[in-house]
């Protein structure tokens, strides 16, 4: 940790990724020029682990983040040189597999000795299967057993505890499966400052700062630009953010000088409210965060300091994402343009609906969109005086069996020669549905484990 002008220790944590497929270069730039103590890669959306689990079934050495190689080959040499530790959820469905691969990369790059920790314990599929008759689904209130499909994966959102333990045991790199996004940032803070894990106001205050960067560049100008209203300088070279944490939990957000994007009150506010519900009760595994009195000060160029976050005791339960195979989804699209294009698209819709009936195609739900008119906002779309010059007609259907959605897609594809005139080539997509449901389990029913791997020279 560095010291600031007042001699206080400042912990600097960078946000190098906020989803599985995130860009590589900005994280490498942070590793090289960010003067970081820690670099965090958060890579798990709700469904990511279930998809990774399906990969792992096919390949026992897989099931972790597919970009791990690219990320580590480019960033690890900088991290080693700068003394930057890494905390990441790239382990997905196979943290030990990710550790093994990382060890190979370290040896190949000649960076040994290094210590890599896997944080395990988030996989609670067995627990959920055992308790499926009693565990209620948050969305419906009915027990897990009411779901019609195989449980592919069930992962509990662990808190920062496992990460703190791994750092105490000397890890240079900590690789986890499912962990609360903000907990990836909180772990290093608790470890470095020696914070008590029941000082709720302190943890809550720090978590407001962690929340600012858990979606990476969404706070530094990503997902923000609206020309004429909200300009973002040099968006192509968007810089990913870092936070500077003080011992009392005060957090400032900034980014590397010379990178694109911007950080100000407006970008921080959009990110702060993103995916929260009641701002006074944001539940994380480590603390219930209260954003309701937060104030944001622009203290420099691309630099915002956060005040007045607080917190309350963490809940006795932890959230579990349960992933179920729920049948198949098929989508197909075709475009009509020119005079009468909309009328031809409408005729095409009618023809497909009739052919689905003729073929007795068994769909649970069918949706038809006119892309360019109302596909996103339906009847709430702003009206237009003129019909669109082009219309992309989209069909989407859900069915228990793959063959039924394939039939739907084929009825759209064959419109080219057997439907209205002047359509252009369609595209179709078929995918298995992995539906995610949530339930709560007692905190005491699960425990994290840390497995350390030492890579020697």
């Amino acid at each position: 940790m560095k010291k600031n002008m007042n001699g206080q220790s400042i912990l600097r944590i960078g946000a190098g990724a906020s989803y599985a497929g995130d860009r590589i270069e900005p994280a490498t730039l942070l590793a090289e020029h960010g003067d970081l103590d820690y670099l965090v890669y958060e890579t798990l959306a709700e469904r990511t682990i279930a998809l990774a689990q399906l990969d792992r079934i096919k390949n026992p050495n897989g099931g972790f983040n597919e970009l791990l190689d690219q990320r580590f080959y480019s960033a690890l040499p900088h991290c080693k040189r700068n003394g930057t530790k890494i905390v990441t959820s790239m382990g997905a469905a196979n943290p030990m597999g990710a550790v093994k691969r990382t060890a190979e990369i370290i040896r190949e790059l000649g960076l040994a000795p290094m210590k890599i920790a896997a944080v395990m314990g988030d996989d609670v599929r067995e627990y959920c299967i055992q308790h499926r008759d009693t565990l209620p689904i948050m969305e419906t209130g009915a027990p897990l057993a009411s779901l019609n499909g195989e449980i592919v994966a069930a992962n509990v959102y662990l808190g920062a505890d496992g990460i703190v333990q791994a750092l105490k045991e000397g890890a240079d790199i900590v690789i986890t499966g499912r962990v609360g996004d903000c907990s990836l940032f909180l772990g290093p803070m608790i470890y470095e400052f020696g914070w008590p894990t029941d000082d709720w106001d302190l943890l809550g205050k720090a978590m407001v700062g962690a929340d600012m960067v858990e979606c990476g560049a969404n706070v530094s100008g990503g997902f923000f630009a609206d020309p004429g209203y909200k300009e973002v300088p040099d968006l192509a070279n968007l810089g990913y953010p870092f936070i500077e944490v003080e011992k009392d939990g005060t957090v400032s957000v900034s980014k590397v000088e010379g990178t694109g994007g911007l950080i100000n009150r407006a970008t921080c506010l959009e990110q702060m409210l993103y995916e929260i519900h009641d701002p006074a009760n944001y539940i994380t595994p480590d603390v219930v965060v209260d954003f309701s009195a937060v104030e944001l000060d622009e203290v420099g160029k691309d630099r915002v300091r956060i005040r007045s976050g607080s917190g309350r005791a963490r809940p006795d339960t932890l959230k579990v994402s349960v992933c179920i195979k729920e049948g198949w989804m098929g989508e197909a699209e075709i475009t009509y343009a020119g005079l009468g294009g909309l009328e031809r698209a409408r005729l095409a819709e009618k023809v497909v609906r009739e052919r689905l009936a003729i073929g007795k195609v068994d769909l649970q739900e069918l949706r038809v969109d006119y892309i360019g008119m109302n596909s996103l906002h339906g009847d709430a779309s702003l009206p237009s005086d003129q019909p669109p010059y082009e219309v992309r007609l989209r069909f989407a259907g859900r069915a228990a069996k793959k063959i039924e959605v394939e039939k739907l897609a084929n009825e759209v594809e064959t419109l080219v020669g057997k439907g209205p005139s002047s359509s252009c080539l369609p595209r179709k997509y078929i995918k298995e549905i992995l539906a995610v449901y949530s339930c709560l389990m007692p905190r005491t029913a699960t425990k994290h484990q840390v497995i350390m791997t030492e890579v020697t020279a």
Binding site: Y229, L273, H277, L296, D379, A380, L382, R398
Partner: protein, 123 residues
């Protein structure tokens, strides 16, 4: 004068399961009372015409001149099984900004000076 909400506020939307939330932020503190008065949960539900099946709740953060709307049963059964092209409802931030709002005269003049166009001239 009547302006689109877009002229006085910006927004971002996100998801959790079948619930969508929209953070709405006034460009200037003076615009915040317009939001409080006119962008109610009921007004939002009406404007979204059937997209939201469950309750809409509004949380206010006056010191930040911002508010957060929580829209339940708003994502066609949830991100992972919805047939929608926007299963996360991320484009709902663009939809909320199409709500027309009535802006007091002094603030309307300010908007006109900044080159913003009113939707209608009546008050």
């Amino acid at each position: 004068m009547i302006f689109y909400l877009r002229e006085i506020a910006h927004a971002r939307a996100g998801d959790k399961g079948d619930t969508n939330n929209i953070g709405l932020i006034a460009y200037e503190p003076a615009f915040y009372p317009i939001m409080v008065e006119q962008i109610t949960s009921e007004r939002l539900r009406e404007h979204f015409k059937g997209l939201v099946q469950g309750p809409v709740t509004r949380f206010e953060l006056p010191q930040l001149y911002a508010m957060n709307f929580v829209l339940e049963r708003a994502l066609g059964g949830g991100v992972t099984r919805s047939l929608s092209l926007d299963p996360h409802g991320k484009s709902y931030s663009a939809l909320i900004l199409t709500i027309p709002v009535s802006v007091p005269e002094d603030l309307s003049l300010k908007l006109l000076k900044a080159g913003r166009k009113p939707l209608r001239d009546d008050v």
